[in-house]
């Protein structure tokens, strides 16, 4: 059994095969692999005995259930009104310059992906971003680079 097979199998064993467990299972795969590959979707469909089209259809509805390969750290910069007013563009610019990729792209070492997202709920501390599940607020072009440098230099 390869890693993904075991992952899916364990998640389905933990949550159950009923349809209402699909989201937690998809989320569990995202936690480990950062995206839902076609293989993962097929394995989930098989283990849960539901059509792969249903799994794929459900996954693609949710912005956090990516079906494109993502880096180890997914950066989601809020682009909704207050963050946009408080300098979101400069933050994006600083991240793009630092990582040398554009929004929507992943670094060659597969460590970072930059995305924009809708309201994160930190409007009073804008601009804000998520790095996977961690929240960073009141960003400046300098602070965002410091934060990402720490992620890059870990290990």
């Amino acid at each position: 059994m390869d890693f993904q097979e075991k992952l899916v199998h364990d998640l389905v064993a933990k949550h159950g095969t009923d349809r209402e467990n699909l989201l937690p299972i998809l989320q569990g795969v995202i936690d480990q692999e950062r995206f839902l590959s076609e293989e993962a979707i097929l394995k989930i469909a098989k283990e849960m005995s539901i059509p792969a089209a249903d799994v794929y259809g459900t996954a693609t509805f949710y912005s956090f259930l990516d079906t494109d390969p993502r880096g180890k750290y997914v950066i989601r910069v809020c682009k909704t009104i207050t963050c946009a007013m408080k300098g979101k563009n400069q933050i994006i610019q600083a991240i793009e310059n630092f990582l040398k990729i554009k929004v929507g792209e992943t670094t060659v070492d597969k460590k970072f992906t930059i995305l924009q997202t809708n309201c994160l709920g930190w409007c009073h501390k804008a601009p804000a971003m998520l790095v996977n599940d961690d929240v960073y607020t009141e960003l400046t072009p300098e602070s965002v680079v410091d934060i990402l440098r720490e992620y890059r230099e870990e290990n």
Partner: protein
């Protein structure tokens, strides 16, 4: 610019540090269901997520269903732009929310509850789980057969719409259902379900502790009690504030504005933009006040000063709606796309200014024909911005 600041009265009920939820629960559970329902109805509490349905009535209607299995769901899918108060409530006073859920469960006859937490707030989970363990111990002690679980969302604004939330919990695309039937009859897993906003549940704790009468002393007719507001934008003091309902936008701006406030967005992107000339004539609360215009809000208050382009604001909202529309019904899916394309075309001069009137008609159609609140409410911000700031849309 110098202004003499008039401060609105700050209320300290929701966030008050009260650790007596065992006592509150014990007392509430000892009362008859009818008594508690009456208390809730008499309080005048209306849903704090924004829609404003009377909470007591919701509990009563669900309690009346003769079905074995029922559910209580706490809607923590806080996604409306400019809203962030539910996270604060769940961080600081989660036990009040849980107490509200437990009392509701006892009254309607539910053994299972869920907190549907937006994916963006996943970092709250460890703390919430700790709270849940403590809370379940209290329930065991009091002999109430009720358990609460956390269900995580995955980044979809529309799942804050109650029926879309049920679909999501059932493992499906978060596409809203037709109503009726309402959740009080057919909700999660097609069972009668009470679904309340985080803040609504926290208020129910206050009502159970201090009584309906005390709660009613706050606010105005048809808009009773206090409300937690999320204040952001061009303000020197952004943050979370508990204020009385019924205040005028002018009083709000005098307190929170930066002295140069041009407009206030009440109720997030799905709410209304109030321009300076209407500050005095508009109040914050539910419909039904005797004079003037009263605007409901889930608590989102976004302030714009005169440096802001209202075209950019509308463009940002439409970009949001176009992405967050679930795509299920045509008026919303195509409507949002066309509105966004339309205002850009007018701005670039590819369409005449009169095209804005066509777009306004389109929002009327969406209001009438979209399946859920998302598509229906795009008209609110669109018309209030285009009608009040037409020049900014064109030049």
């Amino acid at each position: 610019m110098t202004t003499t600041k008039k401060q609105l009265h700050r209320i300290d009920l929701i966030f008050k540090n009260e650790q007596d939820c065992k006592e509150i629960l014990r007392n509430a559970l000892a009362r008859s269901n009818q008594e508690v329902i009456n208390e809730m109805v008499n309080s005048g509490l209306k849903g704090r997520g924004g829609a404003g349905f009377p909470t007591g009535l919701k509990w009563k209607l669900t309690a009346e269903q003769k079905v074995d299995e029922k559910f209580v769901i706490c809607n923590a899918d806080e996604g409306e732009p400019g809203t962030f108060k539910d996270r604060e409530i769940l961080t600081r006073v989660p036990h009040k929310v849980l107490s509200g859920m437990a009392v509701c469960a006892k009254i309607i006859g539910a053994r299972k509850g869920y907190i549907y937490l937006r994916g963006e707030y996943k970092f709250l989970v460890p703390n919430l789980k700790k709270e849940l363990r403590r809370f379940h111990d209290i329930l065991d002690e009091l002999g109430l057969d009720f358990r609460v679980e956390i269900f995580m969302g995955s980044g979809a604004y529309i799942c804050g719409e109650e029926s879309a939330l049920f679909e999501s919990m059932e493992g499906k695309r978060g596409e809203p259902r037709n109503k009726p039937p309402f959740p009080t009859e057919i909700g999660y897993m097609n069972k009668p379900t009470v679904i309340n906003n985080v803040e609504t549940l926290a208020h129910s704790y206050t009502i159970l502790k201090y009584g309906a009468k005390k709660f009613r002393e706050l606010g105005v007719k048809d808009s009773r009690g206090s409300k937690v507001f999320s204040v952001s934008g061009d303000t020197p003091i952004p943050g979370i504030y508990e204020l009385e309902l019924g205040m005028s936008v002018q009083d709000f701006v005098d307190d929170f504005g930066d002295g140069d406030t041009k407009a206030v967005q009440v109720g997030g992107a799905s709410g209304f933009l109030v321009p300076r000339k209407r500050f005095g004539k508009t109040s914050i609360g539910y419909q039904g006040k005797l004079t003037g215009i009263s605007l409901p809000t889930g608590g989102s208050m976004m302030i714009f000063n005169s440096s802001r382009s209202m075209y950019n604001v509308l463009n940002n909202y439409l970009d949001f709606f176009e992405e967050e529309s679930c795509g299920q019904c045509t008026p919303c899916r195509v409507g949002c796309q066309q509105l966004l394309k339309g205002i850009k075309a007018v701005k670039r001069g590819e369409k005449p200014a009169s095209y804005l009137d066509k777009l306004l008609k389109l929002t009327d159609t969406m209001k009438l024909t979209a399946k859920c609140g998302l598509g229906q409410s795009v008209a609110n911000s669109f018309s209030s911005i285009v009608e009040n700031f037409r020049e900014e849309m064109i030049y």
